[in-house]
């Protein structure tokens, strides 16, 4: 029997005040996903290129430095988790467990079922578009609706990356399960 494709995504946010009880007070940064095809484990990230001055107003000096390039900061977190063994489908879970302070990965949510069993079908840009619709609107509106940042890992597959355009990145690693 052909193995099924499975996938999850997490919204990513930055919280200047981790002590706030308001779960919607974070700054939306982007969305990450993990998908398992029969042969590949695919990890992707689509994130904002830049934050507004107003959003950065409450960030500390280290936060401002890290948020100069959210894709760079977030991709490093993903790379760090990828460097340690995780169960298939467990990368976003590991990130959600680890990052609970100012940078946060939300609890992984299942992606919609693939149209065909075993076929990779996630459109990261669509995922990003859907995520920004769910993100709380700030007084400044939705500044994150601007085009997200280009980020390309050296080992990303050009063919697959081409399918979703150049504004997202993904890493392909052999699937263990």
């Amino acid at each position: 029997m052909k193995a099924a494709t499975r996938g999850w995504y997490s919204s990513i946010s930055y919280h200047p005040n981790p002590a706030s009880a308001d779960t919607d007070d974070g700054i939306f940064l982007g969305v990450a996903f993990e998908e398992l095809t029969p042969k590949l484990r695919i990890v992707g990230l689509v994130a904002r290129a830049v934050l507004t001055e107003d959003e950065l107003r409450h960030a500390d000096l280290l936060g401002k430095e890290l948020l100069k390039d959210p894709v760079k900061a977030l991709s490093r977190e993903i790379e760090l988790v990828l460097a340690t063994p995780t169960e298939p489908g467990g990368i976003l879970k590991a990130l959600a467990n680890k990052l609970v302070w100012s940078f946060r990965f939300g609890s992984p949510q299942p992606l919609a079922a693939p149209k065909k069993r075993g076929e990779f079908h996630v459109d990261p840009m669509q995922l990003y578009s859907e995520a920004i619709q769910r993100a709380p609107v700030t007084p400044a509106g939705r500044p994150w609706a601007e085009s997200p940042r280009v980020w390309q890992l050296p080992d990303a597959s050009p063919g697959r990356a081409g399918r979703v355009g150049s504004r997202s990145s993904r890493r392909l690693v052999p699937s263990a399960g």
Binding site: P16, A19, D60, E65, A73, R76, L80, K93, N97, K98
Partner: protein, 273 residues
Amino acid sequence: MPYRRFDNSVEGVAKAWRQQVVTSEAWTVVRTAGIGEAQSLFVTAPNHPGGYAKPGKNDPPIAVLPRAAHEKIASDLAYELELPVPPVVLWVRPSPPQGQETYAAISTVPFTNAQMWSTIRQAGHLVERLTLELNPTCSAMAAFDTWVWNTDRHNEGNLLVTEEIVGGETSVVRAAYIDYAYSLSHSWPSPAEVQRGGCVACYPSFGVQPDLEAMSATVTRIESLPDSVIEEVVKRVPPEFISAECRQRTLEGLLARRGIIRNALRTQYVGLP
């Protein structure tokens, strides 16, 4: 140099919680922080900015690993030594769901913009800039971690840092060392283990010479801490949070190890006064 640089509001909480063992405030679970095994709970109470309650789950049981008690004891001792461990208070969680722990510890959020060290470490240029700033603090904390034998420093999320402008121009780096669940009685399963040699290394290790003066000064403060203070901190933890056996091992370990930590640190840090 002060290693503990929490702001006045956090120090106010610390002073109050040093006098308090179990909180009587009505805490509310707002959300879970993390999922699965690592789950903790973000909680708030009237007149308090909020904190993380741990453990979320009741496995392993308290009789095996008194995690909340360890957190409270370590925090109270750090307060006495003016070291940067956030204030902790014990909490009897009312009617937790099945599988969740009743006897927990709440650790206050030590500062806004809490950046995990693992995040900072990935950004090389920040590491270089913070190295000299944090070196005295991490050297002092090596003495404390060796005393309570906290071996959980491999988790790079257990150090939080922030850097902010204070007074218009000067930047201040604040650090908070968290997570002492797997220390104290967990590290000393038998009386022989209390005399364990070796040390817990500086964390993070910057590849530079540690501040041996800061380390030595902290060892001196630990050596000088009166028996009565250690006994008060350990003995006042209610039995629901720690078994008699674990309490005894914790107390004996803390008392006995004061006399060996300097030489234990010297095995790695040659030249420690």
